[in-house]
Symmetry: D2
Subunit: 175 residues, 4 copies
């Protein structure tokens, strides 16, 4: 991640907006949860976000501006049976985001945590949750372009009224 | 409120977006809190919002669309010494919003709760908190137009990715 | 309530521990929620608690000690479709409790909010939820004596380590 | 940790109650937070708790009973500037606890998360926060025996009314 950010900044240009979406899951009873799985989920969902946030924020701070967005999940707000690793990683990501926002808002860097609550319309999720896609109309699941629209609006917010967290879900999502 | 909504709908036109901002405060030790004050705060901050939400949502439901926005406060999330009435009224407003969103999202009515955390740049607040306005630059307090921009963006969100709650604060706000 | 507390204090004796359990519900679509029902739920679940808390805490403060316990519900933490009144009243009760605890802890008055998440074994609930009582063993629903045991332990906590909120649920409760 | 639990069970006896208190901190700006520090905090505060929880719960499940208690911190509930690692580790610990409680309550294993909000009266904290210990009376900071009393009461709760989370703070703690 350290090299990646360095490469983007030197070869492409200064990062104005950074998003961290990477996430994996793992579902096991706590009584037989492989330690490797628990650690791997943390490493991708949390530690990678930490490294990205650190590398990007220090460069943004030199330039005096920037936006950093982290994609969260409902598991950022509650634990669930068999999901100790995923929930832990997303809780920790939320703590990272809030800690960063409290430090970086006054440095003119906008940090926000967007919780996605519902199935996103991607090939992977279409395969894993076919019933949902059959039952609901096209806009009954999260459309990636619509998510991006809100991310863009967050980036465009004037700094007198910044948001640091919100949740997006489809109108048909039960919650 | 019932007559007001009826009047607006019949004389001006169908309400597409409704906002409820009305709020008063009252600060007393719990040990000598006047019951009239406790009730008045609830009546304006919560009960008025309930009546507005009921009257507007039933008309929007007949038309199959609409947006209803409620302005909250940090006191929606925690109680504070001497602020039992205000905190209670804003907690209850948040519960109203979430209850409405869960019922009305599937009816294509977008309901959201926007927590304002920080001083808004209005004549009243300029008078009551002069020090803050001297210490901070103009965009260090919440600008009403910037708040309105986010309200507008919430109204424009496509329904595949609706938010139901967020918090707005100035980049310089300590939290 | 004002007279009731006065009567208890003058005829029976000083109140060392006060509990507020009174609660009613009301389930309606927000679009046709009777205003009288919305208000009645608030009056019993919240306003009565406020009056009790005020009357008792001022007397406890004169004596320099006391415990005040409020019984909450899961609806203190989230809104639900058709339950705007109940959820609002329980959210407001939670705000009352936290406001009181922040003011009264330093006056040696212990204030706590106990959220009950699950069916209590009472004649009323046995009648309204018979299936639950058939499916579960006797200790699969909340036993009033067991709830009381925790209330008693809260009262007995030494003041170096006071709790202000907790949730009780049966081991078999899905959550 | 795996060997430790094995050794205790085989040499001393079956574990009826397990507590996980281990915790370290690290305070750095996010912009220069050493990755080793971020990982070490997670490893001790979260990963160790996960391993302990796994090893103990599978043995308790064979015996059909047990209590597992995790010590949390206010940082389980909010992020803070410079405390991304500590807050993340404690948020994740909270998620672990809730995930375990939801799975293990129905197996007659009581899991709880106790948030400690305030200075504990230990030699280390006396050295690092001398002013607090001068200003407050002896019971104005958390007494370890008083904390233990609540842990014991949690273990003794009958299973019809189990708590899964609470917060302990001194009566004089500002919050």
């Amino acid at each position: 991640m350290v090299e990646l950010i360095e490469k983007i900044e030197s070869e492409i240009g200064p990062i104005e907006v950074a998003c961290y979406n990477a996430a994996i899951g793992a579902a096991h009873s706590i009584m037989e949860f492989p330690a490797e799985d628990y650690e791997r989920v943390w490493r991708i969902n949390t530690f990678g976000a930490f490294l990205m946030g650190r590398e990007v924020s220090k460069r943004m701070n030199e330039r005096g501006r920037g936006t950093i967005l982290f994609t969260g999940a409902t598991s950022a707000l509650r634990g669930r049976s068999h999901l100790a690793a995923f929930a832990g990683s997303k809780h920790a990501l939320r703590a990272l985001t809030e800690s960063m926002a409290r430090e970086l808002f006054p440095k003119n860097i906008h940090v926000a945590h967007i919780i996605i609550d519902g199935p996103i319309d991607t090939p992977l999720i279409r395969r894993t949750m076919p019933a949902v896609f059959e039952e609901r109309p096209a806009d009954g699941v999260l459309n990636p372009d619509d998510i991006a629209e809100t991310y863009w609006n967050i980036h465009c917010q004037p700094r007198s009224a910044w948001l640091s967290e919100t949740t997006l879900r489809p109108w048909l999502e039960p919650w």
